[in-house]
């Protein structure tokens, strides 16, 4: 479904991603793990068109999407839950959700809002509260629900466990798993290697902007490289 070929991304002079090749198949859940600064987030940002890659090719369902504008990609059925949630702090929870469905018709939008908030009762309880006042975990739920508004075919998640307590991390992963089981393809990036590997079908290991390992859940679980990457 998603294919990244020979991707190079630079921040000024600094190379953040070097010759990256990954792919995601339909209905698959793929994780990308690696230490801080390994280039995981840059990878997602490059795919999502937030950062301009220097070279390489990205295709989504056989369509080349390299250098596409972010909002176009969303309309193509791919969306990202960004690192650090990035909810709109001064807008209410419900407005955040509705904005997620900006491209839908009014009727569909309201219907979807009801639908996606169903698994997250807390969002319904706090409908009119400013999103910035939610706790980290709640914001993460909101960010995921917001991304689900457009019923994406492919959902990218950037560090969904960041700054969350273990119990919350657990909850977040439960929700993601649920989404996956309902048929959403997922590409997920997380520092929390253990959770990420447990969740996925297949994973990539990144280190300093390069792909250093790849394999299915079971292959990777006990390899040294993974041990190393999640411990540092």
């Amino acid at each position: 479904m998603l294919k990244v070929q020979g991707l190079n991304t630079y921040y000024g002079q600094v190379c953040a991603i070097e010759d990256m090749n990954i792919h995601v198949k339909e209905r698959e859940a793929v994780s990308v793990i690696g230490a801080n600064g390994a280039g995981k987030s840059t990878l997602l940002k490059s795919i999502m068109g937030e950062v301009r890659p220097k070279s390489g090719k990205i295709t989504l369902s056989d369509k080349t999407i390299t250098n596409s504008r972010t909002f176009r990609l969303v309309n193509h059925g791919m969306t990202l839950v960004p690192e650090g949630r990035q909810v709109f702090p001064y807008l209410s929870v419900w407005d955040n959700l509705l904005l997620g469905g900006y491209t839908l018709s009014t009727k569909e939008r309201l219907q979807m809002a009801e639908e996606v908030s169903e698994p997250f009762p807390i969002l319904r309880d706090r409908k009119n509260q400013a999103a910035g006042l939610l706790s980290g975990g709640e914001q993460q739920m909101l960010a995921i629900a917001r991304a689900m508004m457009v019923s994406p075919k492919l959902l990218l998640l950037d560090e969904p466990s960041m700054g969350l307590s273990p119990r919350l991390v657990y909850e977040v992963y439960e929700k993601i798993t649920e989404l996956h089981q309902r048929g959403t393809t997922i590409l997920l990036v997380d520092q929390n290697a253990e959770m990420a590997i447990d969740f996925c079908d297949r994973a990539y290991v990144l280190m300093a902007g390069r792909l250093v390992g790849e394999g299915t859940k079971d292959e990777l679980k006990d390899t040294e490289i993974v041990q190393k990457s999640y411990l540092g």
Binding site: T70, F71, V74, Q86, F88, P89, L98, L99, T103
Partner: protein, 288 residues
């Protein structure tokens, strides 16, 4: 005397309020001071004037003025500011000042330096309100300002497009992630803000005349009012504009007319130092 000055102040204040709302809209999305906003105010008034010369009825001329103001703002954003998104704020500021200079002098080339009076169907009549004779056009200005405020308030807080504008002001990248074309949202906001600015110029035209440099001080005042009201706050801008107008009139009436403009500047300084979030702004603690 007090009532006189109060009415003067409210009329003046309504215009400041409209200017302030325009500034606030632009600030809302790009967080920078569009120094050329005063020139949009002037441009709108001149186009209205020309349309009227060509024989258009008043309502059509006014609308044309507003639309051309909006177009001017849109072009400004499209041709200059958009290309400078990543530029330092200082460069943007100077570019805006450059645009203001260009527009002012183009206006002089096109329409000449001599002030013109914009026609108003209401200017000739005074209305008796509780024994006070108030000009009908003044009342027209106040009513239009209030309507515009409510419309924009509705647009910003009750429509999804308005929410998108707010979202873009908080986080452009996340806004794009919602499938929203943030550039378009910004352009539209710029156009609306500029249209409102042009409307202010059109409303003032019959009272204070239309001439190429009319935007300079009006711009400063509108800008002061928008800071007073809390940048980005539409009702705040409205109330602050009115307050500023009344305060100025009182200062001019009871202290010295020469220092009328100094009042606005002193208020601006005081607000910046004591309540930079504006009189009606809220302090929102953000994680550093």
């Amino acid at each position: 005397m007090i009532v006189d000055q109060l009415i003067n102040g409210i009329v003046l204040g309504s215009v400041y309020a409209l200017m302030a709302i325009g500034y606030t809209m632009v600030w809302n999305v790009l967080r920078f001071i569009n120094f050329a906003h005063g020139e949009v105010y002037m441009g709108g008034a001149f186009v209205a004037l020309t349309t009227m010369y060509l024989g258009a009825p008043v309502w059509l001329a006014y609308s044309c003025g507003m639309l051309s103001g909006a177009l001017l703002g849109y072009l400004m954003e499209k041709l200059v500011y958009k290309k400078m998104r990543t530029a330092p704020k200082l460069n943007l500021l100077i570019a805006a000042i450059g645009i203001a200079i260009v527009l002012q002098n183009s206006a002089q080339l096109i329409w000449g330096a001599s002030p013109e009076r914009l026609a108003s169907p209401f200017l000739a009549n005074n209305v008796n309100i509780g024994g006070m004779m108030v000009n009908q056009h003044y009342i027209f200005i106040i009513i239009v300002t209030i309507i515009v405020m409510f419309l924009l308030e509705f647009f910003m807080n009750r429509t999804l497009m308005g929410k998108a504008v707010q979202a873009a002001s908080q986080n452009i990248q996340a806004t794009e992630l919602m499938g929203i074309n943030a550039n378009k949202v910004i352009s539209i906001t710029f156009a609306i803000g500029s249209g409102v600015g042009a409307l202010a110029g059109i409303l003032v035209g019959p009272v204070f005349l239309v001439f190429p440099t009319m935007g300079v001080f009006a711009g400063l005042k509108g800008f002061t009012a928008s800071v007073m009201g809390g940048m980005g706050n539409i009702p705040g801008a409205m109330v602050a504009g009115l307050m500023l107008g009344v305060l100025e009139s009182f200062a001019a009436g009871f202290i010295s007319s020469g220092y009328r403009d100094a009042v606005a500047m002193v208020i601006l300084l005081a607000i910046l130092l004591l309540r930079p979030q504006g009189i009606f702004g809220k302090v929102v603690a953000e994680k550093v």
